[in-house]
Amino acid sequence: MYDPTVARLTYRGLLGRRRALILGVLPVLLIVISLAVRSFSGADDQVASDLLGGFALATMVPIIGVIAGTGAIGPEIDDGSVVYLLAKPLKRPTIIFTKLIVAIAVTMAFSAVPTFVAGMILNGNGQQIAVAYTVAALVASIAYAAMFLLLGTVTRHAVVFGLVYALVWEALFGSLVSGARTLSVQQWALAVGHKVTGGDIVTSDVSLPTATVLLVVVTVLATWYAGQRLRSLTLAGEE
């Protein structure tokens, strides 16, 4: 199911100089803000939770997910170099599964790790806040990577659609319309984070069982459908 060569090509494509730079901007920003907040207002659980929930989980994780998820396959389909993967005796789902693993790993590395570091800076993991948001970021990384990988096989404008989803749906609608919150990866991840803290400093609009089911369903369906898309991907259209 997992092909190390496909993985290597995907990593090298994803972590090329320019993209790695873009991936690194938000985590650096998060840590800089955390350092500033900590030095100005000291350790405050509520401020830590607001920053990790409002910036790290609501903005940084989905954006990193968009870049890593769509970037794991979109550019290859776009420029046609995916032909070198497709013209091999490799099952198409193997290609998708491998790329998903890479996208998840990259999203986790660039979102969950800085979230944890920022949490430690902000309040030294008081009330388990750092761990809770890190776990939430890890969980969200999986679902985002799967969703945006699928998006990369569906449209040439995957990054735009991905950002619209991440910023408009998750951030804007999520805060205005309560129904949208049920269908939000962020809220599902928060449900898992809530379980970790045990207290009410991290809350979600979705119950843990619902969140778990939705996370699994979305991840599995998106991955399966991306495999189907790749099976029927055609490479003509230059004439």
């Binding site: 090329g16 046609g80 170099s81 032909v83 091999k88 005796p89 003509a236 004439e239």
Partner: protein
């Protein structure tokens, strides 16, 4: 023995028919797929390579369908027309990755790089390669698993004459080894130099098939049209029409020229200057009026 069979294959995109009911069999040796740009060559090659489903009909390699059949790639090597190829890798890394995807190791990669004589630049990034170097590395990636069928889409595009000769030698060798090699081109001379067997596609239809001499004859024996201006058009017209190589002449008063239709190309081209000299007529303009590749091809379709 590897035989690629295209059986009543059509492909349309919306209302546009790109490939129209083509049936052909490609056997061992080098075959050229000739046709003007936009004739449907790439669409056909994409269907041969299993990257596009035929709308109707079947494409099979020794009886196995090429569409949605990943195992077929154990036998097919593909050199796509598009340039993109993981430019951030070195040539060797790229060919090695292709070998690994076939379950092979560095030995196969090195052998393929040696075949295309690219060892000298194998450790440079692909992004620094010239067009011809890219083409050779693409070729190495297609040869790495020693395929019995090689599909190349416009492989000579953008190559300089020396690179073209090298690639032709290589393809000829592949054909002589008993591989089935198919390449597309819109340039007759390219195809003629390399392929013993030619398939001609025009506007999505299979226009001609056979050895290059037959096709060459079809192309040169068609009626040729010339626009001729001279110091005495009417005297020239009278002298030309007396010869059987000329089948018709029109005096175009608006253009101030003759429109000549010649049926015997070779004879007419020798006759015209001779007649002019004998009658003391100066030739001012002699220009073929239908020499574009498209008109040559459309004549073939009608033939």
């Amino acid at each position: 023995m590897t035989t690629l069979t295209i059986d009543h294959v059509s492909r349309w995109f919306g209302n546009v028919v790109a490939v129209n009911d083509i049936t052909m069999t490609i056997g061992p040796g080098v075959t050229g797929l000739l046709g003007p740009n936009g004739a449907g060559k790439s669409t056909l090659i994409n269907m041969m390579g299993g990257f596009l489903a035929p709308s109707t009909g079947t494409v099979t390699l020794d009886g196995e369908p090429t569409w949605r059949n990943e195992d077929i790639y154990r036998h097919i090597g593909i050199v796509p027309e598009r340039e993109a190829m993981y430019d951030f890798l070195t040539g060797r890394e790229f060919v090695l990755a292709n070998a690994e995807l076939h379950g092979l190791g560095p030995k196969a990669a090195d052998r393929a790089l040696a075949t295309v004589e690219m060892e000298y630049a194998q450790d440079r990034k692909i992004s620094t390669y010239s067009k011809g170097m890219r083409q050779r590395v693409k070729m190495a990636s297609a040869l790495v698993h020693d395929p019995s069928l090689l599909l190349l889409d416009e492989p000579f595009n953008g190559m300089d004459p020396r690179q073209r000769m090298q690639l032709m030698d290589l393809l000829r060798r592949m054909g002589d080894e008993g591989r089935t090699v198919l390449f597309s081109s819109h340039i007759l001379e390219e195809v003629e130099q390399l392929a013993a067997h030619i398939e001609v596609i025009v506007a999505g239809r299979h226009a001609a098939s056979g050895d290059f001499r037959r096709i060459r004859r079809l192309m040169t024996d068609r009626p040729h049209r010339y626009l001729v201006r001279s110091s005495d058009d009417r005297a020239l017209a009278a002298a030309l029409i007396a010869d059987p190589s000329t089948s018709g002449i029109e005096v175009d008063l608006a253009e101030g020229a003759l429109r000549v239709q010649a049926v015997d190309f070779g004879r007419f081209t020798a006759l015209l200057p001779k007649v002019a000299r004998e009658h003391g007529i100066r030739l001012l303009t002699v220009s073929p009026s239908d020499e574009s590749l498209e008109s040559v091809f459309s004549y073939l379709v009608a033939a």
